[in-house]
Amino acid sequence: MKDLTCIVCPRGCRLHVDDYMNVTGNFCPRGKEYAISELTHPVRTITSSIKVTNREYTLVSVKTTKPVPKDKIFEVMEEIDKLSVEAPTRIGDIVKKNILGLDSDIVITKNID
């Protein structure tokens, strides 16, 4: 048995999962999906920012295209810290493919001209 807070949307449902993985308390089907994922292989989307080398004092924001395992968050952050790009940047530009072999790419989330 476990009680969880759903992080899928701002509603933040209080989920209850019993020993047989039956989920209650979820407002939508995504809550159930989240609860099972959270108890079997918890994952998170990482957002951060990286240097823009050809602009003075400029950073550009990035994210993982797919959520990565929770226990890999700090390793992913170390990899993100090594990255930099040149402007112009466009939302969706891939900076690093398949980070740490986790089947998730690091992509740009801000347009810088």
Binding site: L4, T5, C6, I7, V8, C9, P10, R11, G12, R14, R44, T45, I46, T47, S48, S49, K51, Y57, L59, S61, K63, K70, I73, F74, M77, I91, T109, K110, N111
Partner: protein
């Protein structure tokens, strides 16, 4: 002096959505004024995800969310001025802005939409006790330093206040290598959304202390130590409950206040939210001046800011086509049991659309029913299994029901 149909002040989530909607409703002579060097407002620094679930049915980061609106502003060829700060406003809608490019410019507007956002309460606002050393900073400022300027604000951090930006910054600073010692909240419940408690604090084993606040800040030049004390039910510090944390940074996430200084210039009536008193069209008590977003009341979800701003944009278009009659009977809307405020504060009787009431509860509640009443007539009721102060509640009322109203409408939250 240039005459113009509509000026939108601010280009954040509210300003852009309002301008887009006004344009789509046939207002072509309009202008957005933005004081910053780019469009988008505060979303530029909100690089975390979780935006857009209602608006776009997908999870976006702040910059991705704002870009959708920037693209639309550009596609619709809505004119905007950057680095343009509005410095004066008169009751007859003459506004003055200052920009490097244009100098001082006066505009005579027929309608105005205020979309100026909010500002953070700071150390002075909460009378933070103790030394006035460096290292005490608001959460939004820390967010800008870190996400826009690439500057770390500290290594060992205590966060006061459990507002969402504080929680988001707890995670962000942890990811960038700082040690966040704890979050302290004076109230017995969190001011932030449940999911942010989970994904920003619990995920990183950051303790949240409820009913506890800073009783002393210690530091000669830079912050050295923060003392937290428990508080009683009257929020008074209980002696002997001190906890000491050696730290170099104290981040304040202790509330946001609508930014309405321009409205104060023209004596526009202000409500308990610190934003303007408005009707169902998001129109202030000064006809033709509309407002939406965080300068009206502080929202927890940006998607609802955009939604509210579209209403303001459409209403401004209605006003410019003389379709809003400000001489109609005004029905006051009052917050009843367990409710801290209701938007709008009054409605004009012959409404063009159905009305959405937005409110917050005073404390966490379970198994409630929202009652919309006029005298002893029940106009509507909505069952709510759980309500928390950090989550804005919305309930709808059909415009036809307004005909049944006697003097006023009271919204209350009651046990089922």
């Amino acid at each position: 002096m240039r005459q113009i149909d509509l000026v939108v002040i601010g280009s954040g989530a509210a300003g852009m959505a309002a301008a887009i909607e006004a344009k789509k409703n046939g207002i072509n002579d309009l202008l957005i004024l933005e004081k910053d060097e780019k469009l988008g407002g505060i979303l530029n620094q909100c690089i975390h995800n979780g935006f857009g679930l209602t608006e776009f049915k997908e999870e976006l980061t702040g910059p991705e969310y704002l870009q959708r609106f920037v693209d639309e502003v550009k596609r619709l060829e809505i004119p905007y001025k950057l680095n343009a700060q509005v410095i004066d406003l008169t009751k007859d809608k003459v506004l003055t802005y200052s920009s490097k490019e244009d100098g001082l410019v006066k505009l005579q507007a027929k309608a105005i939409i205020m979309a100026t956002g909010c500002y953070e309460r700071n150390a002075g606002a909460i009378m933070l006790p103790g030394d006035r050393c460096s290292g005490v900073i608001t959460a939004g400022t820390a967010q800008r330093y870190l996400n826009i300027n690439g500057l770390m604000v500290g290594k060992r951090v205590v966060i006061l206040g459990s507002g969402d930006i504080g929680l988001i910054m707890a995670r962000r600073l942890t990811l960038e290598g700082a040690k966040v010692l704890c979050v302290s909240e004076i109230m017995p419940y969190s001011a932030g959304l449940n999911r942010n408690i989970q994904q920003c604090l619990i995920d990183y084993d950051i303790p949240l202390y409820l009913s506890r606040t800073v009783s002393k800040v210690v530091g000669k030049d830079r912050l050295e130590k923060v003392v937290l004390s428990a508080v009683d039910e009257n929020l008074q510090i209980i002696p002997g409950t001190e906890m000491e944390f050696e730290c170099d940074t104290l981040i304040l996430s202790v509330g946001l206040i609508p930014y309405v200084s321009l409205l104060n210039y023209i004596d526009c009536p202000i409500s308990s939210t610190k934003g303007a008193v408005v009707n169902q069209y998001m129109e202030t008590m000064i006809p033709g001046i509309f407002t939406a977003g965080n300068c009206l009341h502080v929202h927890d979800v940006v998607d609802f800011v955009s939604q509210e701003a579209r209403l303001a944009g459409r209403s401004a278009a209605l006003y410019l086509k003389n379709e809003i009659d400000n001489n109609e009977k005004k029905i006051p809307i009052k917050p009843g049991n367990n409710i801290s405020y209701v938007i709008p504060q009054f409605v004009l009787e012959n409404s063009v659309d159905d009305i959405t009431f937005k409110f917050r509860v005073r404390k966490p509640l379970k198994d409630q029913v929202v009652m919309i009443r006029s005298g002893d007539i029940v106009l509507g009721k909505v069952v709510k299994p759980a309500l928390i102060p950090s989550e804005m509640v919305m309930v709808n009322l059909s415009k036809d029901k307004l005909q049944e109203v006697k003097d006023e409408i009271v919204i209350s939250v009651e046990d089922r």
